[in-house]
């Protein structure tokens, strides 16, 4: 079965701290993995994606993510965090089956960065 798990529904930290949002996936083939962000009152915006190659991918807004095949994870990182990073973050897996390529999203992690 294809699935994405974001085990932390809420993460709170202080401005200047390092942030790491956890994501694990289940997929039988080589995964394409994504992170999207949703600011309050806004729609989803693309942050970064992993296709192949380097296991650390860099994205917009100073974010990066590390792909670890050994434990099926794709954690999002940023240091230092800024109050403007407060948002909901979604990890997604592209599930390919029978000609269909669609994104399956995790439940999301709401990040609060206090100034």
């Amino acid at each position: 079965a294809q699935s994405v798990d974001q085990p932390d529904a809420h993460v709170t930290l202080s401005e200047g701290a390092s942030l790491e949002l956890r994501c694990s996936y289940s997929y039988s083939a080589a995964p394409y993995l994504f992170w999207y962000v949703q600011y309050p009152g806004q729609s989803l915006q693309f942050l970064l994606k992993y296709i192949t190659g380097d296991t650390v991918v860099k994205g917009t807004k100073g974010f990066e993510a590390e792909f670890r095949k050994s434990n099926s994870s794709f954690n999002l990182k940023k240091s230092p965090a800024h109050w403007s990073d407060s948002a909901k973050y979604f990890c997604a897996l592209e599930a390919y089956q029978g000609g269909s390529a669609k994104l399956i999203f995790g439940e999301g992690t709401k990040l609060t960065v206090s100034s």
Binding site: K49, F90, Y96, K102
Partner: protein, 115 residues
């Protein structure tokens, strides 16, 4: 580039009424996706089109939901006999080709409220 345009932004219907949601993808994008976002269920895939052809409607509730893409510039999602459980934010997204590992660009969504 105006991005993905969804109309209306908000729609309120009475139970049993019909609702039609509109999506205009980014010009030049050939794939259009529909998702539904609720607090309880998170982001659920509904359906998608590539080059106006339906590719995958595995997430669509079969009886009352239908989607069409009559031309490359717009797609519609129609819900017949709306029920309170249909209340959600319906998100439309487009991508360049819909073939794999492509970035989805999301619209601002239509918030449907069924009374």
């Amino acid at each position: 580039n105006a991005g993905v345009i969804q109309t209306p932004r908000h729609k309120v219907t009475g139970k049993g009424q019909e609702a039609t949601l509109w999506c205009e993808p980014i010009s030049g994008h050939s794939a259009v996706f529909w998702y539904r976002q609720t607090i309880v269920q998170g982001l659920e895939f509904l359906t998608y089109f590539r080059n106006q052809a339906p590719i995958d409607d595995s997430g669509m509730p079969k009886e009352r939901f239908s989607a069409q893409m009559p031309n490359q510039s717009h797609s519609t999602l129609k819900i017949q006999s709306t029920q309170p459980q249909d209340s959600a934010v319906y998100l439309c997204a487009s991508s360049f080709g819909g073939g794999g590992a492509e970035t989805l660009y999301f619209g601002s969504g239509t918030r449907l409220t069924v009374l």
